[in-house]
């Protein structure tokens, strides 16, 4: 029994066997990948197709709607334009989908029968149809079918002009950095005020009213900064067929954004509903026992705990939304995927182009999950 004389032979040593097995698997995978790469390179060489990334410096030879891009600019500039459009779509989409999703998720649990049923119908319908279908339907039926022709544009005084070419609204004039600065100052003021009120509340026990203070303070700073920086404004004007002035949202962007928000919100709503139901009932009852109002009960007691559960799966939905934005290529919104398709059709080599496309989406996704993980860590219960 007690024959533990040293180590077993190599071929029966579990640790060695485990390592050998893993090395073999890794070696096989690497070999297959290298074989494929080698094949690709050999075939490309045989067919005289460039495999490098030199094409990025070549002129693009295609225009991009809704931008000042000139077709003599290099392909890399076109990809940057596409990336900006993708990010614009993804970031706006994530914000709007979160707001809509949380509202519908709460509505799913409402006491009101009508509200509850409407939310349920929405979720069950939208969640169970393909996004591509919603996207094309929104574009053809909503945008092309409902919006008026340019000569019959809908106008809302000097504030907005809407037609099938786009929706233009009253907007700030001049340099973009000024606008960003104003927004940043406003947000900073709001945040500082809220923090200050919170501190006072913690010290004295008086109600903080952070929302009220932040909004008022932010609005004051906004107006002051606007006047100080001399930021003008332009109103959209219909000039024949074209709309000049203001800021214009193309119908393709509108349809893509609406479809992504509507679709992703249905998924977020289910996550929010499940997370709220996962909060122990006692928490809500305790809030009732303290005579908190319905809003206070949801906002201060139930939702913060539900969000702790909801953040990781909602992060997944953000990743999905960012990647799904590539479907907007179908309705010819010039985001990254469409720009890649156009550039491949204009003689950029296909394999390097699509490899680059995937790498860019990978980076976008990694950045999103990095941010979501930070939020998740901050929300997690601090174990003592």
């Amino acid at each position: 029994m007690a024959t533990t004389t040293g180590r077993p032979p190599l071929w029966r040593d579990v640790r060695v066997l485990a390592w050998a097995f893993q090395l073999t698997v890794v070696g096989l995978v690497v070999a297959i990948v290298l074989w494929l790469l080698d094949n690709f390179r050999a075939n490309s060489e045989r067919l005289n197709i460039p495999t490098g990334y030199d094409y990025l410096d070549q002129p693009a030879n295609f225009p991009i709607p809704g931008s000042d891009f000139n077709q003599r600019q290099p392909v890399s500039d076109a990809l940057v334009e596409g990336l900006q459009n993708t990010l614009r779509l993804a970031v706006t989409g994530i914000v709007l989908a979160t707001v809509l999703g949380v509202l519908i998720g709460i509505a799913r649990l409402s006491q009101n029968f009508l509200l509850r049923s409407a939310a349920r119908v929405y979720v069950e319908f939208v969640r169970n149809v393909p996004l591509l279908g919603i996207l094309v339907l929104f574009y053809i039926a909503l945008v092309l079918g409902v919006f008026p022709r340019p000569d019959e544009s809908w106008k809302l005084g000097p504030l907005a002009v809407l037609n099938v070419r786009g929706a233009s609204v009253f907007w700030f004039e001049g340099g973009n950095w000024k606008f960003v600065l104003v927004v940043a100052l406003t947000l900073l003021a709001g945040w500082l005020l809220a923090r200050w009120r919170r501190r006072i509340a913690d010290r004295t026990g008086r109600p903080a009213r952070t929302g009220l203070w932040a909004l008022t303070g932010g609005a004051v700073v906004l107006v002051v900064a606007w006047l100080v920086l001399g930021l003008g404004a332009t109103a959209p004007e219909l000039d024949g067929r074209l709309v000049t002035g203001g800021i214009t949202m193309t119908p393709e962007y509108f349809a893509a954004l609406a479809a992504l928000v509507v679709y992703t919100a249905s998924h977020i709503a289910e996550i929010v509903r499940g997370s709220i139901q996962a909060v122990p009932r006692g928490q809500g009852e305790a809030a009732d026992a303290l005579a908190l109002s319905g809003f206070q009960r949801t906002w201060f007691v139930v939702l913060p705990q539900a969000m702790r559960i909801a953040v990781p799966p909602i992060g997944n939905q953000y990743l999905n939304l960012a990647k799904n934005s590539s479907l907007a290529a179908v309705i010819s919104f010039p985001e990254l995927t469409q720009i890649t398709q156009l550039s491949v059709a204009n003689r950029s080599p296909a394999v390097p182009s699509y490899a680059l496309l995937l790498a860019i989406y990978l980076v976008i996704s990694l950045v999103i999950s990095f941010v979501v993980n930070i939020v998740n860590r901050r929300l997690a219960i601090v174990e003592r």
């Binding site: 090395l23 690497v30 080698d38 295609f62 092309l144 022709r149 010819s332 059709a345 003689r347 995937l358």
Partner: protein, 391 residues
């Protein structure tokens, strides 16, 4: 913290490696990648991966040298033809599921020339932006898909263009009630084009040349483009003249029919030689396809049609005898001309009797679109269609 950071790093490193592998031009590239990969994942893997790399390096992929598509087509007894299936006149699917059109007929011409049977064609529908990649990877043998021959496509797409079957040019179509009567009227408008074509760049360049500002909106499919055009998303629809004619003649009556559209036929602002294409570096196959097309042109020049070519009396005309694959009196023996193209001596008879000569193919498919021969007339009638002598 460190751990989660490496988790993000690993896929990035992998992506970078793929990039490096693609851009490396020398043969040592693969081995270089292998050692780098081993280095990043774990030092102890070096031996395993290096062996693997050597193994992969000795494998020679691809077709054996000297093998031509001509041989594989004959062996498979079918010509696989990359086509578009939504373009009336050039290629679309009719009610009985048959591929009909000008391009489809040239696919049949190739099959008749190479295999002696015009029905031995497999039509492979392909999207605009995938057409060259699909041809390169061998999804089909020849691309006959309304494709413009340009220098950069010839040079960078790994394909060889052959004799243009149709000389086209880009024009503009607008709604009849739009009030536009010339391209010069169209400052500050939106122009819709099919994406991934030469049309996009052409239209932007042409308006820039005239000093007009426009926005070019490109669509992946013609169906969506038509929806957008009908809804007033754009003022003009720019494409090759032949395509615009085809689209106009098939414009649905619910939207006003052909009468509701106007094409600026006098304003053709680009050269669009539409030519079949094959993979680079296969001259035997390229020559076979070229001469299949030439046969239709030569037949029209000789006055040979699908009606009269069989049993046509060549008389004493040696050129005609050669073309018909008849026995030509030589020094010692009488034999039909075999120019060494890998085609049967009577291939021209097969092409013309089964499909037709160039003029017939044109009439059968494009006359309904009210297209005129124009540049596509024979050289004897002042056009550009000219076949080298068959001798």
């Amino acid at each position: 913290m460190r751990r989660s950071f490496t988790r993000y790093l690993a896929p990035l490193a992998a992506a970078a490696l793929i990039g490096a592998g693609c851009s490396d031009d020398d043969d040592d590239g693969a081995a270089g990648v292998a050692t780098t990969a081993a280095g990043t994942s774990a030092g102890s893997l070096a031996t395993a991966t290096t062996t693997a790399a050597t193994g992969a390096g000795t494998t020679t992929p691809g077709a054996p040298a000297g093998e031509s598509t001509l041989d594989t087509v004959i062996a498979n007894d079918v010509v696989r033809c990359g086509v578009r299936d939504d373009l009336p006149g050039f290629n679309f699917v009719d009610q009985s599921g048959e591929q009909v059109g000008f391009d489809a007929d040239f696919c049949r011409v190739i099959a008749a020339a190479v295999l002696g049977d015009a029905t031995k064609v497999e039509f492979v529908p392909v999207e605009t932006d995938a057409r060259f990649t699909a041809l390169q990877s061998g999804e089909f043998d020849v691309l006959v898909r309304n494709t413009t021959w340009t220098a950069s496509r010839d040079g960078a797409e790994g394909v060889t263009f052959l004799h243009p079957t149709y000389y086209d040019g880009q024009s503009m179509m607008v709604a009849a009630d739009s009030g536009f009567s010339s391209i010069d009227d169209m400052d500050g408008t939106v122009i819709c084009v099919a994406g991934g074509t030469t049309s996009e760049g052409n239209v932007a360049a042409e308006f820039a040349r005239r000093g007009l500002t426009i926005e070019v909106q490109s669509f992946e499919t013609v169906d969506l483009l038509q929806e957008a055009f009908t809804a007033g998303r754009c003022d003009g629809w720019s494409s090759d003249l032949s395509q615009l004619k085809g689209l106009r003649s098939n414009y649905p009556d619910a939207q006003g029919g052909p009468e509701s559209l106007v094409i600026f036929e006098d304003e053709v602002f680009s050269k669009e030689p539409l030519a079949p294409a094959v993979v680079d570096g296969d001259s035997r196959w390229a020559q076979a396809v070229d001469w299949a097309i030439y046969a239709t042109i030569q037949a029209e020049e000789f006055g040979l049609t699908s009606e009269n070519i069989e049993g046509f009396d060549a008389g004493d005309d040696v050129n005609l005898q050669r073309f018909l694959g008849a026995e030509v009196e030589g020094e010692d023996v009488a034999a039909p001309l075999d120019p060494g193209l890998g085609l049967a001596p009577d291939y021209a008879v097969q092409v013309v009797s089964q499909v037709g000569n160039y003029g017939e193919i044109f009439e059968n498919n494009l006359a309904a679109l009210e297209l005129e021969r124009g540049l596509n007339a024979l050289w004897t009638d002042g056009g550009l269609q000219y076949a080298p002598p068959y001798r």
